[in-house]
């Protein structure tokens, strides 16, 4: 059953605003997605009706807030099909989730001379934490390159994997190009070599398959705000066997069992990794976002987004002088491009003036830009509420911008 796009657009109140006197065309969803009314309502409801600190309170509100917070953990667990609630750790976002693993996994399992592998397609947040960990632990940092289409060189990955590889970290979907990496295959390759795997799912969890058990991911990280939820909340899924064996990331309240001058013992999972008063409302908003997505068949969302994406690539390809960088074997939701002789900032600025929001620059993926030999791109990125009409608006706006820039 096809999804009802008009109804969906009504669910997101911000989509009806105008920008610079023009209808708002939001094509910057890889940066952050807009929020449906149900998410906004859930956040307001929390602050209005049951704001309270959680886990230790003895009063009505605290119990209610604790229940909602923990129910959200279960909602997340079900969405990504984790085995256990306690394998879901709430973080500030994908970045913190990756830093947590880079630190705690590194402390427990990475020793001098060991190797850590990432890919050339990573966002800086799945690159720099591993570089830092390798420096701290005296390990070697290896990078899997990608080819001219934006596909990972799995042949090189195969060569790099060895019995010294402790962990491989890669994104399921590239935020810069939209490449869908063959996650299952990559994870199996790493496991065959005895390495653990972290999947950065920040751009995947809302656009493609997200079953952590089917993927067999050891760690899986994503951000609430890119899946129609609030900012400041993220998720780290980790297999129990790994999380149990890893030391805490931060010390403080919530994460302790017993504290004395001689020795402190740590709380059970997931609280061992959730020091301090958590972002209480974040998971509640995130669960509302997931519940919203759950009102659809996920395959319908994928089909709709793919149809708009294919239409976008087809339409944009016809513009004279365009170079599209998103051309991997499998790819989703992102069209990265440049126009010959035009700076991406100029194009982005003139699109903004026409009410079209895109992102320009290096998209926190400088190694990709270096490999492509460019400074940056214009990136249009889609969500479930985008339409073919909006692609037409984008194309018309690009044509007007080109004219203004003398092309």
């Amino acid at each position: 059953m096809a999804i009802n796009i008009e109804k969906i657009r009504e669910d997101f109140p911000i989509l009806s605003i105008s920008v610079n006197g023009k209808p708002f065309t939001y094509l910057d969803n890889a940066a952050t997605t807009q929020k449906p009314q149900s998410v906004i309502d859930a956040i307001v409801d929390y602050y209005r009706n049951y704001n309270s600190n959680i886990h230790r309170g003895t009063h009505y509100l605290s119990n209610r807030a604790t229940e909602a917070h923990e129910a959200a953990r279960k909602t997340v667990k079900d969405y990504i099909n984790a085995k256990n609630d306690h394998e879901i750790v709430f973080t500030r976002g994908t970045t913190e989730a990756i830093n947590l693993v880079a630190f705690s996994f590194g402390e427990a399992f990475v020793n001098p001379g060991d190797e850590v592998i990432v890919t050339g397609l990573e966002h800086h947040s799945n690159f720099v934490p591993w570089q830092m960990m390798c420096e701290r632990r005296g390990a070697h940092f290896r990078v899997v390159p990608f080819d001219e289409n934006g596909d990972l060189r799995l042949d090189v990955l195969k060569e790099l994997l060895s019995d010294r590889t402790r962990i491989l970290a890669f994104n399921h979907v590239s935020n810069s190009l939209g490449t869908i990496n063959p996650a299952k295959e990559i994870i199996k390759m790493a496991h065959d070599a005895g390495a653990a795997v972290l999947v950065d799912a920040a751009q995947a969890v809302q656009h493609t398959e997200h079953d952590v058990q089917a993927l067999d991911a050891d760690f899986y990280a994503f951000s609430g705000h890119k899946i129609y939820g609030p900012t400041g909340i993220g998720v780290l899924y980790g297999k129990e066997k790994w999380l149990d064996a890893m030391p805490p990331y931060q010390g403080g309240g919530e994460m302790i069992d017993q504290v004395s001058i001689e020795k402190t013992t740590y709380n059970r999972l997931p609280f061992k990794f959730e020091a301090g008063t958590p972002n209480i409302v974040g998971p509640i908003g995130l669960a509302a976002a997931i519940n919203y997505l759950n009102t659809f068949n996920f395959s319908d969302i994928i089909a709709h987004e793919d149809a708009v994406l294919q239409y976008g690539i087809e339409k944009l390809s016809k513009i004279k002088g365009i170079k599209i960088y998103s051309k991997a074997k499998k790819h989703t939701s992102i069209i990265a491009f440049n126009m010959a002789g035009i700076h991406h900032y100029d194009l982005g600025t003139l699109l903004d003036a026409q009410g079209v929001a895109v992102r320009t620059g290096h998209h926190c993926t400088q190694p990709i830009m270096t490999a492509l030999g460019i400074e940056g791109t214009v990136r249009a990125s889609l969500a479930l509420y985008n339409t073919k009409d909006e692609i037409n608006i984008l194309v018309t706006a690009i044509q007007k911008a080109l004219k203004m820039l003398g092309k």
């Binding site: 700076h343 900032y345 600025t349």
Partner: protein
């Protein structure tokens, strides 16, 4: 030569004749296209203004009590903005440049139209211009 304030006033007046967004951008682009290209020897690492999505080069010179600037960028819009800054500051008294209050971006409404000034490097350019003028005034360059 007109004062910094007089030049800012004339820029505000120029923009007041351009109420439509596309006319304003077309004007900026035209200014960018007309700016003299920066000679290759000034396109040095030292002259790159950091904090920009586009690359901006700013060449500064201190002669007597006056400062002179030349700028270039790979973005036409940023080049247009740089052209406005050159018009306001180049050839002015160093002390006055270092203390100048830049009001024309707000008064023309350009600040609302352009995405954050941090992104386009405008703030970084202005800081570099004013700190150079300060050093020039103190005989440090």
């Amino acid at each position: 030569m007109a004062s910094i304030q007089e030049i800012q006033n004339s820029i505000v007046e120029d923009f007041s004749f351009l109420p439509e967004w596309d006319d304003r951008y077309a004007y900026l682009i035209e200014l960018g296209q007309k700016i003299d290209p920066l000679p290759e020897q000034y396109r040095t690492e030292d002259n790159i203004v950091r904090g920009c999505q586009s690359t901006v080069w700013l060449y500064s010179e201190c002669r007597g009590d006056k400062v002179y600037f030349k700028a270039d960028s790979d973005s036409l819009i940023v080049k247009g903005l740089a052209a406005l800054l050159m018009r306001v500051f180049s050839g002015q008294n160093a002390e006055q440049v270092s203390q100048a209050d830049l009001t024309f971006f707000e008064e023309t409404g350009l600040n609302k139209h352009l995405s954050s000034q941090r992104t386009n490097g405008l703030m970084a350019m202005i800081e570099k211009i004013q700190s150079f003028a300060f050093k020039c005034k103190n005989g440090e360059v």
